[in-house]
């Protein structure tokens, strides 16, 4: 992804109902409140032996941040702790305090992990705390990185899939969350973990058939993660996936994710697009062919659902690809379709469709010459 820095003062919080459902620890007080009224570590007697260290700024800094007193106080003590090398339960309290104020604080995460290891702390408790922090800070790299380190220690990936399913309810397309799921599956690669994965994807697509993250995950499960017991017949897998994606296209024809998946399966299995012509053709027409009695409906090639907006851009493109591959006289048909995309159905990509026409003419004249 990107090197994203968003300066947005109004950071939306997930709905409270979801937070509490996913993470029972959400109602626990922050470390800074745990000891009562005093917000500052400076005033707590049990920290009197630590020398707080202020932040160094020798020259005028670029984009100085106007820290709150509470943050300045906590990080002064954190720098003090790092200098002394202390690893103790109160360090866990302090790093939690810093992280709650700044979830991107790389060093606080790092030092917290080291301390957890040194103290041999119960990591299930830590994961429970992370359940809360991950939901709160879904877009922070460190939250996920820390979780990976922990699970590599506990070697208990099972509960993680449920946790991930819950956090996807908060943000169904969150990139970190999906990456974490792919990592859990690939890293532990345990048959029991994989066993419900297709059902899971199906349920995600039932909520939103346009969720590209779910489609991508399905491709990963079906084709990119090795062959598991029962999946040895690869042709059967391809047939199953083609049937699955056709059905989803029929429900919602104008869905780029499903069409990209269809192309992905065909490319992967090296099946020519022309084999799908019977299925795709009705989607590329301005309206459904009249007079097809329901009893002759071809189950292998479901028709677009009623009220679909036709023609479907992706289907027109697909038909043009079939004609282009056939070459010869069919190039004229391809060109007609590209023209209709450029001038009518998909004008934002006019330049692209005109480029496709120009390229196919080049190939043709090259072939003839």
């Amino acid at each position: 992804m990107k090197i994203e820095i968003v300066v947005d003062p109004a950071r939306p919080a997930p709905p409270a109902s979801l937070v509490s459902r996913v993470a029972p620890a959400a109602s626990a007080p922050a470390a800074s409140d745990a000891r009562g009224a005093s917000c500052c570590i400076l005033q707590r007697p049990e920290w009197a032996d630590v020398v707080p260290l202020e932040q160094y700024e020798n020259v005028t800094p670029l984009a100085p941040i106007f820290y709150t007193d509470e943050y300045r106080d906590a990080t002064n003590y954190f720098r003090g702790i790092v200098k002394s090398g202390e690893m103790s339960p109160r360090v866990l309290e302090l790093t939690e305090n810093v992280i709650r104020q700044n979830p991107g604080h790389y060093s606080a995460w790092q030092y917290r992990y080291k301390t957890l290891m040194a103290l041999k702390s119960p990591l299930d408790d830590e994961l429970q705390l992370m359940d809360e922090l991950a939901i709160k800070h879904l877009k922070t790299y460190q939250v996920w990185h820390h979780r990976r380190l922990l699970v590599q220690q506990t070697r208990n990936p099972g509960p993680e899939l449920e946790f991930i399913a819950n956090s996807l309810q908060v943000d169904m397309k969150n990139y970190h969350t999906w990456s974490y799921r792919q990592w859990i599956l690939a890293y532990f690669n345990d048959d029991a973990l994989w066993s419900h994965e297709l059902d899971f994807v199906e349920s995600m697509l039932e909520s939103d058939v346009r969720n590209n993250s779910a489609w991508h995950h399905r491709f990963f499960v079906a084709f990119q993660s090795g062959v598991r017991n029962g999946d040895e017949d690869r042709d059967a897998i391809v047939r199953r996936e083609l049937a699955f994606v056709k059905e989803r296209i029929a429900i919602a024809p104008n869905n780029a994710s499903a069409w990209n998946y269809l192309r992905g399966v065909l490319d992967h299995a090296k099946i020519p697009y022309s084999e799908l012509q019977a299925f795709v053709l009705p989607y590329s027409l301005p309206q459904l062919p009249l007079g097809i009695p329901p009893e002759v409906v071809d189950l292998e090639n479901p028709l677009p659902s009623k009220d679909s907006q036709l023609p479907c851009v992706a289907a027109v493109e697909f038909m043009a690809d079939i004609h282009e591959a056939a070459g010869g006289g069919d190039l004229v048909k391809a060109t007609e379709l590209w023209k209709s995309l450029a001038n009518e159905h998909d004008t934002i990509r006019k330049r692209y469709w005109e480029y496709r026409i120009a390229e196919s003419l080049k190939t043709k004249s090259g072939g003839d010459g």
Binding site: V7, G104, W178, S179, H217, A256, G264
Partner: protein, 364 residues
């Protein structure tokens, strides 16, 4: 329908937004600390690409900024690079290095570009240490960790390692073949590249992959014909009907992806397939009335979206009839800086050539 002509691009307002951020951020932005140098780059880059740097900043300010950036150059246990800011450095510290104040690879890339924008002469750059740093960040699978021996690794860090090697004009800091292998392993069935192997195709990391491939191989086209067609198709498909680009299939447009996808197409010599007018119109609608550009219309602006929107316009400008406000400095899509800045980087960052005769004359 798109308007017949665009509202002006408020270059002065965007420069003012970035200048304000450089002079200070509210406490709510505390999570910028571990990425401060990147933020600085987006601010300085906005001033640079809009041609406002000299107008909006004074010599002494630029001098101070150079000093501050140099003060982030850190020698760690595994080489030298730039840390994000001094947020982990204690006052009056006598220790050379705490082990928790590490240089970071993305910050190092943005520091080198920021110093080039500020026309530094790089006499203080520890080049040998920088190569050592890169080597210690590379993992067995060819990827790069954000810091030596740990941290997250993905295509962003890979791109930064390639850009740093390009600027140094020295590739001895990495195993290039292994690094390329990692890039290929991030390719997806859609034609874009995921953040790491198995990840969903994403605009930002697709740019990182394509720019890195082109920097390393120097070939006009680093992909096979079929792969190229598929990637171009996916990138073009990401242009939404409102003119903006989305970063993933079926997501809403976001100003930053105008750069990530637009520059990716440019890297593949297919920039002319973008509908520039529609893209500019989307970016115009993301302008905040008091300066700065937001990810979508109606949101608050930030330097990241401001810079990337300006960079996208510089690379894929609308018709010249839109007037002078839309004219920006030409951009080098591979290093992601104006050509003037990237030429400066390529001229001043490599180690000075040792002249044998001169050494002989000096009796060395």
């Amino acid at each position: 329908m798109l308007p017949a002509s665009l509202p002006p691009l408020s270059k002065g307002g965007h420069a003012a937004h970035c200048k304000r951020c450089l002079s200070g951020l509210p406490s709510s932005q505390v999570d910028i600390d571990p990425a401060k140098l990147a933020l600085s780059f987006y601010c300085l880059g906005s001033l640079d690409v809009s041609g406002e740097l000299e107008k909006k900043t004074k010599d002494w300010e630029r001098e101070q900024w150079r000093e501050w950036i140099w003060s982030q150059q850190t020698r760690g246990h595994h080489g030298t690079g730039f840390r994000a800011s001094s947020y982990m450095t204690a006052k009056h510290s006598t220790e050379e290095h705490s082990g928790h104040d590490n240089p970071q690879i993305i910050m190092t890339y943005t520091a080198l570009l920021s110093l080039s924008i500020l026309r530094d002469n790089f006499s203080r750059l520890d080049r040998k240490g920088l190569l050592e740093f890169l080597r210690s960040c590379q993992n067995i699978d060819g990827s790069f960790s954000s810091e030596p021996l740990g941290g997250d690794s993905d295509l962003r860090t890979t791109f930064c390692a390639f850009a740093i090697s390009t600027m140094l004009d020295d590739w001895s800091g990495m195993d290039v073949a292994n690094a390329l292998q990692f890039i290929y392993s991030c390719r997806t069935y859609e034609g874009g590249y995921g953040q790491s192997p198995f990840g969903e195709a994403l605009g930002g990391t697709t740019y990182c992959a394509l720019a890195a491939l082109r920097l390393a191989t120097k070939q006009l086209d680093p992909l096979s014909l079929q792969d190229r067609q598929k990637t171009v198709r996916w990138l073009v498909q990401n242009q939404a009907y409102n003119g903006g680009f989305s970063g993933r299939t079926n997501k809403d447009a976001d100003a930053c992806y105008c750069f990530w996808c637009g520059a990716s197409l440019h890297v593949l010599d297919a920039g002319d397939l973008v509908d520039n007018a529609a893209m500019s119109s989307f970016i115009a609608s993301c302008q905040f009335k008091y300066g700065g550009i937001a990810k979508i219309p109606g949101e608050h602006p930030d330097p990241y979206h401001t810079y990337l929107s300006l960079a996208a316009v510089a690379l894929l400008p609308p018709n010249s009839s839109e007037g002078a406000s839309w004219a920006l400095c030409p951009l080098d899509p591979l290093l992601n800086a104006t050509y003037q800045t990237s030429s400066w980087a390529r001229a001043h960052i490599p180690a000075p050539k040792v002249d044998d005769d001169a050494l002989g004359d000096a009796g060395i």
